[in-house]
Each structure stands twice: as structure tokens, then as C-alpha cells.
Amino acid sequence: MKTVIRNTTCADRLLFFLLILASCAGIFISREAVSQSSDVLIEVNGKPAYTFPLAGDRTVTVNGPCGPTVVEIKDMKVRIREASCPNRLCLKEGWIAKGVIVCLPNRIVVTVGGKSAGSPRGVDAVTG
């Protein structure tokens, strides 16, 4: 053991410590960062139906009580492209990059931006 330690240079030891420290810190940082990463979560009637990365264009059709709703992901943004709900308020929301689009009649919730999406500026909930 002694000879092994004597065989290492200062730089060797420093490098080892740095790697250990950086990777440990990285484990924490990445865990934090990913928990609020940008995923598109599509829920129907409160149950998660799909999760897609925001990076990656695609179109998906989900079925709710009123019929099909078409969700489109493009250029890091999401919108409801077609809806069969009566009031079509969800269509009027347009493209969002963060936040929530809700279609109440069709019970569809599209959330972008992970868990903290619904709480802008450090607020846990909004009244009004």
C-alpha cells in the first residue's frame, strides 16, 4: 500500500479527488435538473397517457370522453391541433413552451416542463 501511494504524483491524487468530487456533485445536480426537465406529459382523466421529450417533433392523438384530441409537439413547443370538445378553448391556448393546456370537457391535461410547470415564479398554487 505504502509503495502504491509513493508511486502516485501529486497530480494523480488531485485528479482522483477532482473526479470523485465532480461526479458526486454531478449526481446531485443532474438529479435536480432532470426532475424539472422539459417533458410533455399528456394525461387523460387524471391518468398519465403519454410522456414525450419536448425535443422531438411528433403528433399524437389521444381519446377522451368527447372524442379524439390531437396534440402536436414541434420546435420545443406544444399545442392542441385538433379537438372534439364543445368549446375548443384548448385550441385557443396556441403554442406553449412551458405550462399547462387543459381541455376540461375532454379531460385532457398537457403539461410541459415537469413538476414545477404549474407554479410560476416560486408560487405553489394560484387563487383566482
Partner: protein, 166 residues
């Protein structure tokens, strides 16, 4: 290239290949965890015989191992090649810059780091394309790489000492 060099490369490559194969037989707690034992040979080759030998041994090892396991030119071969080449290159550069700054342990750590970094980058390009997934796994892999790199460096250092005593 001298006959002696060829002989040396052949022997080293054989060692590297057998370690590579042996490592595949070892049970590991995590499926994708590799000890990188073959890197010991690259390290020894670099410190005793120079960069050319180290790189040649690495290339021979990667190509032959993939031919033996039937993955030649497949995606896992790409990962293996990218990791091996960048690892050997990084160690070679560190060694070329200063022969006294890093010892075998430091070189081995650098090799492990670049091996992992190259593989992660290639994995992102070839398979996963999910940045978060790579972000999550990178620090874990680099941490494990630091530990295995340390052990390989120690073993490599002892090996070099014994070989140069003879």
C-alpha cells in the same frame, strides 16, 4: 517497424484481448459496468514503449475482440472503438506533455475519463438522443470510472515497475 516491435505489439495485444475477454466473464453488479482491465495494457504499452505501440495495441484489441464476439462494425463496436481510441489518445497527449506530471494512476484516470466521455457522446448520438438520460447517467459512470481507473492505474504501475526492473 522493427521485428522486436511487432513481437511486442503481438504479445501486448494478446494480453489485452485476454483481459478484455476475461472481464466479460466476470459477474458485475450492474450489467453495463466494465472494469476496463484492457486499459492496463494500453497504459503499460504507452509508458514503456510509447504512443504508437499503445494506439496499435488498442486498435488491434478492439477490432479482434469485436470480430471474436461477432459485433464488428456494429453499434457496440463503435462505442468500443471510440472509447478505446480517445482514451489512448488522451493518455498519449498527457504523457507527451510531461513524463513526470502524471504517474500511471493519473494516466489511467485520464484514460478512464475520456473512454467514458467518448462512449457517452457516442451513445447519445447513436442510441439514446435523450439529453436528460445522458445527464443523469454521466456522473455515475464517471464516478465508477474514477474508481476502476484508480485500480487499473495501481495495477498498471506495479506492472511497469516489475517489467522495468527486469
Amino acid at each position: 517497424m522493427q521485428l522486436q516491435d511487432k513481437h511486442r505489439i503481438a504479445v501486448l495485444s494478446a494480453y489485452a484481448l485476454s483481459l478484455h475477454g476475461f472481464e466479460g466473464l466476470l459477474p458485475t453488479p450492474i450489467p453495463w459496468l466494465r472494469l476496463g482491465l484492457a486499459n492496463i495494457i494500453t497504459l503499460v504499452a504507452l509508458m514503456l514503449y510509447g504512443f504508437r505501440t499503445a494506439m496499435t495495441v488498442t486498435l488491434i484489441r478492439v477490432v479482434l475482440a469485436s470480430i471474436f464476439t461477432g459485433t464488428f462494425l456494429g453499434p457496440s463496436f463503435m462505442l468500443s472503438l471510440g472509447g478505446g481510441v480517445s482514451s489512448a489518445a488522451a493518455m498519449g497527449i498527457a504523457w507527451a506533455v510531461s513524463r513526470s506530471f502524471f504517474g500511471p494512476v493519473g494516466l489511467s484516470l485520464i484514460g478512464a475519463l475520456f473512454h467514458n466521455a467518448a462512449q457517452l457522446a457516442l451513445a447519445y448520438l447513436i442510441f439514446i438522443q435523450r439529453f436528460e438520460a445522458i445527464m443523469i447517467i454521466s456522473p455515475v459512470i464517471i464516478l465508477i470510472g474514477a474508481v476502476t481507473g484508480l485500480m487499473n492505474g495501481i495495477v498498471g504501475g506495479l506492472l511497469i515497475k516489475n517489467l522495468s526492473h527486469e
